[in-house]
């Protein structure tokens, strides 16, 4: 019997524990994520899913109360090792936030920022990167004649796609999305979802979402968190059709959350 070629594991998390001072926000979480898949993280507010997401590009480092134990291996490297340069890590792992947060600069400068801070000044290189990133984020046709316009002059949905383009410009392999559509109208949200479907051919995507339909539409795998525990993790279809745990079932059918 011939099986589809097994996808490589790109993120391995082992016995992760996170504390904010005394508060235990992630409890012994083990989670492996395969390359070029979309993984949805679901669960009620405060369950630790955003904390998990922010572990992967070490955005929790700025929280003074943050304590971490365990190992997260990304692309074969333990990212909490002392030798890891956080700035380098983040070039490989893009992030899109809940509320669109373009810089108060032009569309062009927004997308070019990630490259400029790496010291890339060559105009041709930047132009090409801006164009291809905006195309990948399905925004190019809407803004190509107006790249000098301010990023903040765009609509909410366009701003969010601009933020995606900005993250793609530095050529990451992983894209973290923290409720990327929660501040958007349904049409803009649908566009982002289509985009995620396209992007998964090239990138590994992890998306935190409160929208169950969204999770079923865009993700291959789903992880359900509840008060710091990873309750259930598996193929999205199976998890939503036949949840193993009672809590998962209750949550996805909307009985609590």
């Amino acid at each position: 019997m011939k099986e589809k070629k097994e996808q490589r594991t790109i993120i391995q998390s082992e016995s992760i524990n996170v504390y904010y001072d005394d508060k235990h926000v992630l409890k012994n979480v083990n989670l492996d994520i395969k390359e070029k898949t979309v993984t949805a993280l679901i669960g009620p507010s405060g369950c630790g899913k955003s904390t998990y997401l922010r572990l992967i590009n070490r955005m929790n480092d700025y929280i003074p109360e943050f304590h971490f134990s365990g190992t997260i291996v990304v692309n074969g490297k333990n990212i909490y090792d002392d030798s890891v340069e956080v700035e380098e890590l983040r070039k490989d792992i893009g992030m899109v936030f809940q509320k669109p947060n373009p810089f108060p600069k032009s569309i062009y400068d927004n997308v070019a920022y990630g490259l400029k801070i790496q010291g890339i000044k060559n105009k041709t290189v930047l132009d090409e990167a801006v164009e291809s990133s905006l195309k990948q984020a399905a925004l190019w046709d809407e803004v190509k004649d107006n790249l000098k316009a301010g990023g903040l002059s765009l609509s909410g949905g366009q701003q969010q796609r601009l933020c995606i383009a900005r993250a793609l410009a530095v050529q990451p392999t992983i894209l973290l999305m923290d409720e990327p559509t929660s501040a958007l109208d349904p049409i803009s949200s649908a566009k982002i979802e289509e985009l995620i479907f396209e992007l998964k051919k090239q990138y590994t995507i992890i998306i935190v979402t409160h929208n169950m339909q969204q999770a079923t539409r865009v993700s291959d795998n789903t992880a359900f968190f509840y008060i710091g525990d990873l309750i259930e993790y598996g193929k999205t279809d199976e998890l939503f059709m036949n949840p193993i745990h009672e809590q998962t079932k209750k949550y996805i059918t909307g009985r609590f959350g």
């Binding site: 003074p64 380098e88 992030m95 801070i117 530095v170």
Partner: protein, 285 residues
Amino acid sequence: MKRSVRNKIYDKVFEIIGYTATFFGLIILLYFITDIVYEGWNRIDYDFLTSYTSRKAEKSGIFPAWVGSVWILALTLIISVPIGIASGIYFEEYAKKNKITYMLEVNIANLAGVPSIIYGLLGLEIFGRMFGFGSSILTGSLTLALLILPIIIVSTREALKAVPQSLRDASFALGASKWQTIWLQILPSSMGGVLTGTILALSRAVGETAPLIVIGALAYVPFIPSSPMDEFTVLPMQIFEWTSRPQHEFLINAAAAIIVLLCITFLMNGIAIYLRNKWQKKNQW
């Protein structure tokens, strides 16, 4: 009486009190300005701006005084702005939230409330005597820089605080270092606030007299200072000196000098307002 009627009366009464309170200060200021302009306006001419002071009131001018003020202003700016902004950035972006930071914060807030004459004594002792700068422009500028540093630090911090966390997140998530994030995102976004605070602090420095009297600024300066080590006078000193004379002609000179000084501070405040509006328009999150 019905409750709603009573509430309406209270409402009206408070509105009138608030109105009066607002206009109280303004009317007095207006009276003062009118008086000064009435007294001094005709005295201002080219000669007044380009003459040295003299024993004869009608021949006296404010040339050394306004040049001294410009010297002091420029040097104070050069000294205080980089230090003030840098320490504001340190507090807001780098300092760990611990006891030492807290103590520094409290002390800076206290420094903002220290009477300016105390700064004068400090300047006299440290810069004038210990460093041997004497009664020079440098001593004056260093002293005034100390005086306005707390204001610059506090206003820089407020401006940095107003930058949303989401902007920092966006920059960090793209692999920017802390320094790049501060330099390329946070500072440009907060520049309006930083500059406003700085200019208001400097316009306070322009009007200061007490610390400069203490460090030994002269009222009679028969030359134009040409280096930071020269002795000097400034407009407020000149005004102070003239108002202490018995002859009425000197009071007219003082009024004219006050108009010039007011013009300088109004101009600086105007620039501050302009910058604030300009930057506010640019950054709308």
